[in-house]
Symmetry: none
Subunit: 226 residues, 2 copies
């Protein structure tokens, strides 16, 4: 079972730790602030009060045995750097660091961080993407620059069959599923529920359909939006 250490229980660290634990990953949460450790202990497998720049403290908690360590120490940049260096020296396969700016991010990479996250910048870009594409419902990053994207069917697609749209050859995207509102009769009343449909070649796109597609960001940006 995947074992992840989250060091630094600010808003970012707490969010990572709780969400990981909820997904069935084994989580060790660490902070030098005892109160924060206390607040999270019911949500994770192990909550430890310790100074992460102390190699002994890390070893005594078997942090060297985790698959991933997330270093989410914010303002204390030196502590974050030192913790990262120690973790790589202890052989932790993947170390993810939260950085305040691109400058900080560069330094984390140079000292061995496998991945660097800038929350404000990431979620700023995520919001911008949604505001620029109001039909966007959700998207998920897949590996290798591929994204899974949900958006309202553009008017130009409606009434056309999946086959005739030829999304793969025209746009290099794959239509994964369609979410469609359908009328259901339930105890004498008609109500609308959303059904997930695996699109067949002869299926016709309806207005209000939500299309779930996969493709590279470049390919997705070429899809019609209106």
């Amino acid at each position: 079972m995947r074992k992840v250490a989250v060091i630094g229980l600010g808003r970012f660290g707490v969010s990572v730790a709780k969400r990981l634990a909820a997904s069935g990953v084994q989580v060790i949460a660490m902070d030098r602030n005892g109160q924060l450790v206390n607040e999270i202990k019911d949500d994770v497998d192990l909550a430890v009060r310790a100074d992460s720049t102390d190699q002994q403290a890390l070893l005594s908690q078997n942090i060297d045995n985790v698959d991933v360590a997330v270093v989410s120490i914010g303002e204390n940049f030196e502590a974050a750097l030192l913790t990262t260096v120690i973790l790589k020296q202890l052989g932790v396969p993947e170390v993810v660091c939260r950085a305040q700016t691109e400058f900080h991010a560069e330094i984390f990479r140079k000292i061995g961080a496998d991945r660097v996250i800038q929350p404000e910048s990431e979620s700023g870009q995520s919001l911008a993407r949604q505001l620029a594409n109001p039909q966007l419902v959700d998207f998920i990053r897949l590996a290798d620059g591929f994204t899974l994207l949900e958006f309202h069917a553009p008017a130009s697609f409606c009434g056309k069959s999946i086959l005739s749209l030829a999304l793969r050859s025209k746009y290099d995207v794959n239509l994964v599923v369609i979410r469609r509102a359908v009328e259901v009769q339930q105890s004498g009343q008609s109500r609308s529920i959303v059904k997930t449909v695996v699109p067949k070649p002869d299926d016709v796109i309806e207005p209000d359909d939500i299309l779930v597609v996969v493709g590279s960001d470049t390919a997705l940006s070429k899809l019609p939006r209106e």
Copy 2:
């Protein structure tokens, strides 16, 4: 053309403003700190130094005519609240507020924010989702009993074209992407990397291909495994 105002040029605000401008949206960036306004003026349509709690200042910049206003004032919570209230009074259709905590988020919603973003919490969940699923695909958004499954291409599929396999009509599953090992030449050495491919109708399945498919659990259980 979509017109968005970004008020507060911290890391989040700058990220939203620049990414929006790059997507072809008309952006007005505002901050009371002249230096920040100066730093962004080449990246947006209009960069204004002003106090956003001053209704006159907002009106003189036609902020009441934007489609969306993003209030990304961080530490100055009262200013963020007041700005939000003014924007809704001026009739801005959509006001998005950046909140520091769930408590702040609640208050923004109560005073009329249409949307509230908590960057640290959002990107923490996004990282957790990726760490919990190293192949980076999320099954939860494909609700309604649909699952995304990755499996080695069965021998019976190899050498066949995607079109001839007719997965959708035969098995009621959708082939999302194929992960395929390819040889790459890098500085005189040949190495193998895994590429993610959007399958085209004429593509032929190769041995060792990993097929990523979507379908109901029942449908997936009927796929050949050998």
